[in-house]
Amino acid sequence: MNVSGGVVRARGLVKDHGQGQSRVRAVDEVDLEVPQGQMLAVMGPSGCGKSTLLHLLGGLERPTDGEVWVAGRRIDTLSERALARLRRRSVGFVFQAFHLVAELSAAENVELPVLLAGRSRREARRRAGLLLDRVGLADRARHLPSQLSGGQRQRIAIARALANDPLVVLADEPTGNLDTAATLDVLRIFEDLRSAGQTLVIVTHDERVAATADRLISMRDGLFVDDTRLAGSHTGGLGGLIGLEG
């Protein structure tokens, strides 16, 4: 799908947590536009509001004020049902804690969103096979998450996020729980996705991860304090560029 004006857009976005005197502003009137195929990294210290921003963009939380648009459709006014359908079709999530279903195998985890979208079991299997192959874990299809390393689990989570060909993948600290080698594996996948024109929004603490993006936004106290276009990631080897290869 070609979306003019940005796959993801936000205008005057505000999110407050709590009420009265304990109210905290997590996101403070930010404007954002993520064009199709862009890999956007959002950095900032803990508690600066970057995860909240990601949740708002994916319709997991509703803004206190402002507008969010995904694929040309305003989503902050949608019902929960409509939001669910939007996530099913257009958004893929990757979390720091993986959030895989512990009692399902790797393939079954990837099949889950395909089945939730109402597609057949055969189609779900086919998609899971393709995606597991894409993230290099075809031989781990029958393994349970507890039988996989952290990096492998995150690759399964990425495959699951891609299961319904989303317009945008929203990743919240995708390498936060990974060692260097696993981080490199994940970044390679993201690099492949970007090359394929996949829109990505990655929230991260890790400067090395941010360095692979097309664009870097820095957040502090709920505000965007910097918005930089990066060019280096398109050239040269990924590992060498960010110092992950030994």
């Binding site: 909240t52 949740h55 994916g58 997991l60 939380e61 929960e80 049902r81 669910a84 359908r85 996530r87 099913r88 079709r89 999530f93 979390f95 720091q96 804690a97 959030h99 895989l100 279903v101 512990a102 009692e103 399902l104 195998s105 079954e108 099949e111 889950l112 969103p113 089945l115 939730l116 979208a117 109402g118 079991r121 779900a124 349970l144 507890s146 699951r160 299961a163 319904n164």
Partner: protein, 596 residues
């Protein structure tokens, strides 16, 4: 001493934090122990009421009845009073068989005893209202009068003659209403009958007026009241046909009306206990992780295994014992009404006897121990460091179920996978549904039985008190069972939702709608609930058949299937609210809580 203070402090703090759980345990065990205590006490209470009535009315030790009349019979019966073992007697007196009509239309068989205006030393009916017989007036037995709805001052018609009711009385010389006849006309079988007293001349005139059947009787007081058997054996060859009825027979006859009540209450208490265990176990399982962490914390600060066991068990045991005491008190208060449904006896029901108290207490302790044993053992056995970082028990991978669920619509897919996560809980839900249907099936079976009323020719203008009593008790037990099953269903749905909240939040991020999550959580209870309800039908019929008469009628199949269907529908309705509440929880919050 310090340990006791610590245990008490921890238990009180935990009860304050989990008030709903404490209230549920208290309620469930109270209901179960009260029902069991009632069931086990019925016989004793019935005997006690008979004894008290017997003492208050100078009840005879033996009543000798003859189906014949005439001087020879009177003489033969009177000769019994000459036995040296007989210390007092009343009679011989005549018993007239007639029909009594009250309030113009309520007719019933009645036996009329012709008594002196001044009662003798034996069989002195106790007047509970009005006065004793006088010429032209009738006294009605209290159980009979209550069934008729007649009081002092009302008029009744006996064999076409109108009599004012001058008094209401009780006696231990006959069995309770409606078994006052003892023998039928000519010594044959008797019908359901009430009892009335008249003066001897009035009874004679009544019998003569319509040539009514008459029998004769004499009440005897023995030197040794326990020696009734020997007395009857000694007089078996009296020369006339005599039926002896010792006081032990009448006490036994009093329990006939309670014959079905006891199994209803005792079996009901088992089922209630089972549901109590089910509900509390579900709650305890939901708190297993918290309990394990708590045990780890206590171990880390030096608590011994014994102390940890005491802390974990004391709360449930203390609540169960408190509930036991409450249950016994409830049983004590409810006993007179349940043990004496006819008003034919007087007296106070003593509290549950020692054996009943022990049985109820064992039941209460068993509920507490069985429902908490597994999480307590788990908390005990887990190493300290592991316990401190305890997470929910990892569900097993079930590939075939996962593959099967992939063929189903989303709500059933989620429901089946949720069911597969905790099969033990699914079994509890199935058992909960089965228990409800067992009770409903038993209730419907009772209602399906043909019944002979206590009115004239079996008319139900005077209802069958035994049937009414049984159905009333069964209805009460069924309501209690359904109430506990309802609480269990809501509890199981909520604990399932809470344990699966992370997975459900993930499903939401993958595009499942709140409605699909709600339907999935409901389906997780309905999938085991449906077979449970269906199994409940034959189990209910089978359980009742253990206590029912061999020729008992089965209720129509449509009733039973309707009951099972209604149970499933009610389960669906009950699960909807907690499932909806759980499904509406913000996704980001649920995911953050999981990683916190």
């Amino acid at each position: 001493m310090g340990s006791i203070v610590l245990v008490v402090r921890l238990v009180l703090a935990d009860v304050r934090r989990h008030r709903v759980q404490a209230a549920m345990l208290l309620l469930a065990v109270t209901v179960a122990t009260a029902t069991m205590a009632l069931g086990l006490s019925l016989r004793g209470v019935s005997d006690a009421l008979y004894e008290q009535t017997r003492a208050a009315t100078a009840g005879p030790d033996v009543v000798a009845l003859s189906g014949d009349t005439g001087p020879a019979v009177t003489s033969a019966l009177a000769s019994l009073a000459d036995d040296p073992e007989v210390v007092a007697h009343h009679g011989p007196y005549r018993i007239v068989y007639a029909t009594l009509t009250a309030r113009g239309s309520t007719s019933s068989p009645v036996v009329v005893h012709g008594f002196a205006e001044t009662p003798g030393a034996v069989d002195r009916p106790l007047v509970t209202s009005g006065r004793w017989v006088r010429s032209g007036g009738a006294v009605l037995e209290r159980g009979f009068a209550t069934a008729l709805g007649v009081g002092v001052g009302d008029r009744v018609t006996i064999a076409g003659r109108s009599y004012p009711v001058v008094g209401i009385a009780v006696t231990a010389a006959t069995s309770i209403y409606p078994w006052a006849a003892q023998i039928g006309p000519g010594g044959g079988p008797s019908d359901y009958s009430g009892l009335a007293w008249m003066t001897r001349p009035d009874a004679r005139r009544l019998a003569a007026s319509h040539d009514l059947p008459v029998t004769s009787a004499i009440d005897l007081k023995l030197r040794d009241p326990a020696a009734t058997e020997a007395f009857m054996d000694a007089h078996s060859g009296l020369g006339i046909r005599v039926t002896f009825q010792p006081w032990q027979f009448k006490a036994e006859q009093d329990t006939v009306i309670l014959r079905d009540a006891q199994p209803i209450l005792v079996v009901g208490s088992w089922l209630l206990s089972f549901l109590a265990i089910t509900g509390v176990a579900a709650l305890a399982a939901g708190r297993a992780v918290e309990q394990t962490r708590r045990a780890g914390l206590l171990k880390a600060v030096g608590a011994t295994p014994g102390l940890i066991t005491a802390v974990l068990f004391t709360e449930y045991l203390a609540l169960a014992l408190l509930a036991d005491a409450l249950g016994l008190m409830v049983a004590h208060l409810a006993m007179p009404a349940i043990a004496s449904p006819t008003a034919s006896r007087i007296g106070d029901a003593a509290g549950p006897d020692g054996a009943t108290v022990v049985a109820a207490t064992v039941l209460a302790v068993a509920v507490a121990v069985l429902s908490t044993l597994r999480p307590t053992l788990r908390a005990m056995r887990t190493a300290t460091v592991t316990a401190l970082t305890a997470t929910a028990h990892q569900p097993r991978h079930r590939p075939w179920l996962t593959a099967l669920s992939a063929l189903l619509p989303t709500p059933l897919l989620l429901g089946l996978r949720l069911t597969a996560r905790r099969p033990g809980r699914a079994v509890l839900q199935a058992c909960s549904s089965a228990t409800s249907v067992i009770a409903i099936a038993a209730l419907l079976t009772l209602h399906a039985q043909p019944e002979r009323g206590y009115g004239l020719d079996g008319s139900s203008v005077l209802p069958n008190l035994r049937g009414e009593h049984d159905r009333g008790l069964m209805l009460a037990v069924t309501i209690l069972l359904i109430a506990l099953a309802v609480v269990n269903t809501v509890t199981l749905t909520w604990t399932t939702a809470m344990e699966a909240r992370a997975n459900m939040a993930v499903a939401r991020t993958l595009g499942a709608t709140p409605a699909q999550i709600t339907a999935g959580l409901s389906a997780a209870q309905l999938l085991p609930g449906l077979p449970g309800a269906l199994i409940g039908i034959p189990l209910g019929i089978g359980l009742l058949s253990l206590f029912a008469a061999p020729n008992a009628a089965d209720p129509p199949s449509a009733w039973l299937l309707g009951a099972a269907l209604a149970t499933v529908l009610v389960t669906a309705a009950l699960t909807a609210l907690p499932a909806r509440l759980a499904a509406r929880r913000p996704v980001a919050q649920a995911l953050s809580a999981e990683t916190a």
